[in-house]
């Protein structure tokens, strides 16, 4: 399947790269069918929103942008063939990454072979950054282990008499969920906060009373849940049953779910959660993105769409700064510029280390007055950080 977008001012000089009125073609392969079709389509919408917004405001370097999107059917062999075709045969000027670690790694290898800049919207697992890729950049604020960095800094910066002294961790046996909890654990332990409970549970656990009994007995000041959705809710209810009251409680994913509040009996006040994207975040380009995206698609963007859009913003920033967008020498200039600079995006300012891992952290949201609000980092906060947490 081929989707072409953007105003094509066609038949104006064929393949001549020096003709600067040609549209800039961007090759993408996305899982539009198969396992990852849901997030894949989300990223596609983000890319399309980006192309439309760029074209409506005059394009890149005065040229329109045109997306060429292939469907890789969530298949790792297919994704390699797709990028080979896009770069080698179709001679696209730029490429954007696909969705999910499983597809990012093989396709990044192709981009590496052709010396193409490879900015990707979703591939946060550790292995992505252990392959020695030189052209890869992950266009999101942080990998799982760094989600809680703002919270860790905040806790460790508290005056000694207020700072919590002990912590309990419970994480699902899942790389993402564990990554978030253990990232925070490492930092808190290094800061002298003692770990009293460290539990891992299988993904299908439904009875949390045993884990809750251990946590309640430890009376830890800080509670950290490496959770998805239902497990987080079950753990909280089991802890409420045992009358455990932590001074600080943070869960990944669960608290941002729309049904979270009613599921735990509306006793949400003070519960924390990291988030990669918020429609309410006060980053300069975010307001425009939310407005125009909503106008184009009829509903507000979610995290997948934002990640796609961010990828576009990152590449656009490099193209504008380097003043070129084609295969060959230009790609090296784009990579070098991104390596040395910070890009303002809808998810905040992004910069990268030499492996392409973003140096940022997720925003921290907190339930305050019956609504979840950004409390960290300071420059985009919607409400004051609430500590200690009221009883639940």
């Amino acid at each position: 399947m081929i989707v072409t977008l953007g105003a094509c001012s066609s038949s104006s000089g064929g393949d001549d790269a020096n003709d600067k009125t040609d549209p800039i073609t961007i090759g993408v392969s996305l899982p539009l069918t198969g396992d990852f079709s849901e997030p894949g389509k989300g990223v596609q919408q983000g890319y399309e929103a980006w192309a439309k917004i760029v074209n409506d405001s005059g394009g890149l370097l005065g040229r329109q942008v045109e997306l060429k999107i292939l469907d890789d059917q969530s298949n790792a062999d297919r994704v390699v063939a797709d990028y080979e075709q896009l770069i080698g045969k179709d001679e696209v000027d730029l490429v954007f990454g696909p969705f999910s670690t499983r597809l990012v790694v093989p396709s990044a290898r192709v981009a590496e072979e052709y010396d193409m800049l490879f900015v990707e919207p979703a591939g946060a697992a550790k292995e992505v950054f252990e392959q020695g890729f030189k052209n890869l950049f992950y266009a999101a604020p942080a990998v799982a282990n760094d989600h809680y960095n703002h919270l860790a800094d905040k806790i460790l910066a508290m005056p000694a008499d207020q700072r919590p002294k002990t912590a309990a961790y419970a994480a699902m046996d899942d790389p993402f969920a564990q990554g978030t909890a253990y990232g925070l654990k490492e930092k808190l332990e290094a800061g002298g906060i003692k770990t009293l409970v460290d539990e891992v549970y299988p993904p299908n656990t439904t009875d949390f009373s045993g884990i809750a009994a251990k946590i309640a007995d430890s009376k830890a000041d800080v509670l950290v849940g490496g959770s998805q959705y239902q497990d987080g809710v079950n753990l909280i209810v089991a802890l409420q049953q045992l009358g455990y009251q932590p001074k600080l409680a943070a869960f990944s994913t669960a608290p941002t779910n729309p049904e979270f509040a009613s599921a735990i009996g509306n006793k949400t006040e003070g519960v924390l959660s990291p988030t990669g994207y918020s429609q309410d975040a006060q980053y300069p380009s975010n307001k425009e993105f939310v407005e125009k995206y909503t106008a184009q698609f009829g509903k507000a963007p979610e995290e997948d769409q934002a990640n796609g859009y961010t990828t576009g913003q990152v590449v656009a920033a490099a193209v504008t700064a380097a003043g070129c967008a084609e295969q060959g020498e230009c790609q090296k200039k784009l990579v070098d510029w991104l390596r040395a600079n910070t890009v303002e995006t809808v998810v905040g300012p992004l910069s990268w280390d030499e492996t392409g891992k973003p140096k940022g952290a997720h925003m921290i949201q907190q339930w305050i007055g019956g609504d979840i609000k950004i409390v960290l980092p300071e420059d985009v906060k919607e409400a004051e950080f609430l500590y200690p947490k009221p009883a639940w």
């Binding site: 539990e199 549970y201 045993g210 239902q230 209810v237 049953q241």
Partner: protein, 295 residues
């Protein structure tokens, strides 16, 4: 070394869990006793009952405990129908083996229909008293767990009285002990077996409701339950209701206490270790054999 408070809390949780296991396992052992049927679909019916409780609460705001007024008779009739329409058609010589296949298919059917009707999303009943608890000597007992335990006690006591004190109970026990002799004495063993099966499924309705009070449910959850329940009835002695109840309490307690040193993942293995040990050293189970026949 865990603190005394944690040990006491875990003992209480273990007791409550064991009570629930006892109720869930009682029906399973009854089927085997009556008909030598291995009922793989028992836990699927548990989950079905839990879904009905959740659905009625979600749609009409009916408290799960009230939903039992409808589900218990419904499941009893379904049990009688299932026995009369399907299980009696299996050849006696291969009944046990074939019943595994038949009930396995029923379990898959129920799981598939639940997934079709309610999707695979995890569900939980949000009760006003879901997080309420009572204090018992420094430990906390959740109200919902106490209700589930109470249901188990009431259901098991009723089952016990039914089996011991009524003519139907005597006929049922006679059928369990010696089917041919029972028939010679004029007991309509087919009818009795049908009713026995209905009672087994009725316990699933009560058990499923108790389950829905305090856990998340999803269509494939029954696979998570059938293993431990099978282990319980083997350890307790196949066909013995008191054996199943005692084994359930002991293993539930063991699971709860083992979670302290071993964690959630490994504590689950206690059921299978007990199953292997029983099969290796006492294949008839600890309360099976003669005790089962006397009950």
């Amino acid at each position: 070394m865990p603190s005394g408070a944690l040990l006491f809390q875990s003992v209480l949780l273990g007791l409550l869990l064991g009570g629930l296991y006892a109720l869930l396992a009682s029906g399973l052992t009854l089927y085997f006793g009556i008909m030598r049927v291995v009922m793989i679909a028992h836990s699927a019916f548990l989950i079905l009952a839990a879904y009905l409780a959740w659905w009625l609460h979600d749609q009409a705001g009916i408290d799960p405990l009230l939903s039992m007024i409808g589900t218990v008779p419904l499941f009893f009739l379904a049990g009688v129908g299932l026995q009369r329409a399907l299980l009696t058609r299996l050849r006696p010589a291969t009944l046990t083996m074939m019943s595994v296949l038949l009930t396995f298919a029923i379990a898959l059917l129920i799981e598939g229909l639940l997934g079709y009707a309610f999707s695979g999303t995890q569900r939980r009943i949000n009760l006003g008293y879901g997080s309420a608890s009572l204090e018992v000597l420094g430990a906390r007992v959740a109200v919902v767990k106490l209700i589930a335990f109470g249901l188990a006690v009431v259901a098991l006591t009723t089952l016990y009285l039914l089996m011991k004190k009524t003519r139907f109970g005597w006929a049922l026990r006679a059928t369990i002990q010696h089917r041919d002799a029972a028939r010679l004495l004029g007991i309509d063993t087919d009818r009795v077996a049908g009713f026995g099966f209905g009672i087994g499924l009725a316990t699933a309705a009560v058990g499923g409701t108790a389950l829905s009070l305090d856990t998340t449910i999803y269509p494939s959850l029954h696979w998570h339950w059938i293993g431990p329940l099978m282990a319980i009835i083997v350890v307790g002695g196949l066909g013995s209701v008191p054996g199943a109840a005692i084994a359930a309490l002991v293993l539930g307690m063991a699971q709860s206490l083992l979670q302290i040193p071993m964690g959630t993942t490994w504590a689950q293995t206690v059921f299978y270790v007990a199953l292997f040990a029983t099969l290796a050293f006492r294949p008839q189970g600890f309360f099976g054999g003669r005790l089962a026949q006397r009950f």
